[in-house]
């Protein structure tokens, strides 16, 4: 799971979704997630997955890392399904739900810098939690990079061996131990910087103002329509289940249209 690639896309990307206001994207994410939660029809959930995939394709978001990250929770959901699902269809539903919810979250995170995602959360959680959340995300990238450097250093000193697993374990553990000590030095440095800057117990992350309300409204409307489909199929399942194949079909058409749009532009 490479979180660093998310931050790079969120801060350097230039798709229309990057320019959409964070509030609109958060609303849209909530709608899609609610749809995934309430719907229990694997075909409808698959249709929502395809709709999200078409957004990724049409707006040229980094498809490979998004797919890799989305399949990570799907893998664990597959293990959960194997261990507990009563039948194949329910197992498929578990995996589809994990994949779709992850895809929705990733589309949000790949197009929105993390302070803007955390800003609304910061307003409702206690100050120490909101601030530590921002510090965690920032520290993660520093520590992940440092960990890679430490592993390289261990490799160069022949700390890893395919034949000698004990040596490899020792090398990895000493790298993690080194990382732990480094992390406390990092915390000390952060503390000094925060003292110098006059930190008094609140880091403020601001949300940028909406620049294109029409686009924001369109994104929210699209998400609301997905939620409506999920709700309608949930409530009127008795009448609509025979037609549920239409949802993934529409999703597949949207994906093809997105691929053509991307190829031609």
């Amino acid at each position: 799971m490479d979180i660093a690639v998310i931050d790079e896309s969120a801060t350097t990307g230039s798709s229309p979704l990057h320019r959409t206001s964070p509030v609109a994207k958060l609303l849209a994410f909530t709608c899609v997630l609610t749809g995934v939660i309430v719907n229990q029809n694997v075909l409808v959930v698959a249709g929502i997955t395809l709709a999200l995939a078409s957004a990724v394709v049409a707006w040229r978001l980094p498809a490979k890392p998004i797919a890799a990250l989305a399949f990570y929770p799907a893998f664990f959901a597959g293990i959960f399904a194997l261990a507990s699902a009563p039948d194949l269809l329910t197992g498929m539903l578990f995996v589809a739900k994990a994949l779709t919810a992850a895809l929705a979250a990733l589309v949000l995170m790949f197009t929105t810098p993390y302070p803007q995602v955390f800003a609304p959360v910061q307003r409702i959680v206690p100050g120490i939690v909101g601030d530590a959340m921002l510090m965690t995300y920032r520290s993660f990238f520093l520590l992940a990079e440092k960990f890679q450097h430490l592993l390289t250093a261990v490799k160069l000193r022949s700390g890893f061996s395919r034949r000698d697993l004990l040596r490899t374990a020792r090398g990895t553990t000493s790298a993690l131990g080194g990382l732990l000590l480094y992390s406390f030095d990092l915390a000390q440095r952060d503390y000094d910087i925060m003292r110098l800057r006059g930190y008094e117990g609140r880091l403020r992350a601001k949300l940028p103002p909406a620049t294109r309300p029409a686009r924001d409204a369109a994104i929210v409307a699209a998400a609301v329509s997905l939620l409506t489909v999920a709700l309608v199929f949930r409530v009127l399942w008795f009448a609509l289940n025979p037609l549920s194949w239409l949802v993934p079909l529409l999703g597949a058409i949207a994906l093809c249209a997105a691929a053509v749009y991307r190829w031609r532009s």
């Binding site: 507990s84 206690p126 920032r138």
Partner: protein, 270 residues
């Protein structure tokens, strides 16, 4: 076992909502207690320890479907109150990158908090009992005990979610007929006979989560994970205990408070 990789929409509404309520109450209490002193010191510490857990959790051991957690290490370093906040932050960020559902953040926070607090308490107890020289043993035993307990909690959560007819995957959607939160599928199955659209059947035992099978898989794969986690935790804490003993025996907050940089006076010291 640390946290559950259960997708959104699988646990019943009452269960994940209760998880969120309990987790938020715990976090609010922990924040209130932690705010009493030295908040500037605690925020960066919390940040780096939570980030360390994220780094560990971001690489899985594929054949076992297991990844390192470092929860006991984080618990030992942060102490019980800050551990709760760290658990919430880690779960929230993981959910935002799709690793575990957003709805299960509450349940996961409670489970990880229990793991961290239990690890911290058992480690402290064992260090008092066995002495500082046996820090590796203390760390290993604390880790296995904490992970075994939370794995049992996890099985309990799945049992609550799918064990009985009253909870048959109810997700609490709004019933337009009665305008009450209820389960329109309480009479039948939601995905079986999906394409044929047959009428609802009364739910039978096979339509609920298989708790027994889940427990067998989790305890079998999980126990291997406990051993790996215990070995790594004991090695790391043993290593840190030799280099920076205060960090392990007094906790990170206390250790940082006594560190005086050139030209600075740290709080708590004239």
């Amino acid at each position: 076992m640390s946290h559950i990789h259960i997708p959104d929409g699988v646990l019943p509404f009452w269960l994940w909502a209760s998880g969120w309520i309990v987790a938020l109450a715990l976090v609010a209490l922990a924040a209130r207690v932690s705010r009493r002193a030295d908040i500037r010191r605690k925020v960066p510490l919390l940040g780096v320890v939570a980030a360390l857990m994220l780094v560990a959790m971001s690489s899985e051991i594929v054949p076992l479907a297991y990844h390192m957690n470092l929860t006991v290490i984080a618990g030992v370093l942060l102490g019980p109150w800050l551990a709760i906040i760290a658990a919430f932050i880690v779960d929230f960020i993981l959910a935002m990158v799709g690793h575990g559902g957003v709805t299960v953040v509450g349940v996961n926070t409670v489970i990880i908090s229990v793991e961290m607090i239990l690890g911290w308490a058992v480690f402290r107890g064992l260090v008092g009992l066995l002495g500082r020289r046996r820090v590796r043993w203390s760390a290993g035993i604390a880790t296995v005990l904490a992970l075994a307990t939370t794995t049992t909690l996890l099985v309990g959560v799945v049992a609550l979610a799918g064990g009985g007819p009253a909870t048959g995957r109810e997700t609490g959607t709004l019933d337009p007929g009665t305008l009450r939160f209820g389960n329109p599928f309480s009479q039948g199955v939601y995905s079986i006979n999906l394409l044929r659209g047959e009428s609802a059947r009364a739910p039978g035992p096979s339509q609920y989560l298989s708790v027994g099978r889940f427990a067998v898989v989790v305890y079998t794969l999980g126990s291997i994970g406990w051993v790996i986690e215990a070995l790594v935790t004991s090695a790391i804490l043993g290593y840190v205990a030799r280099v920076r003993p205060n960090l392990v025996f007094a906790g990170a907050v206390a250790e940082a408070r006594h560190e005086v940089l050139p030209g600075h006076h740290s709080e708590g010291r004239p």
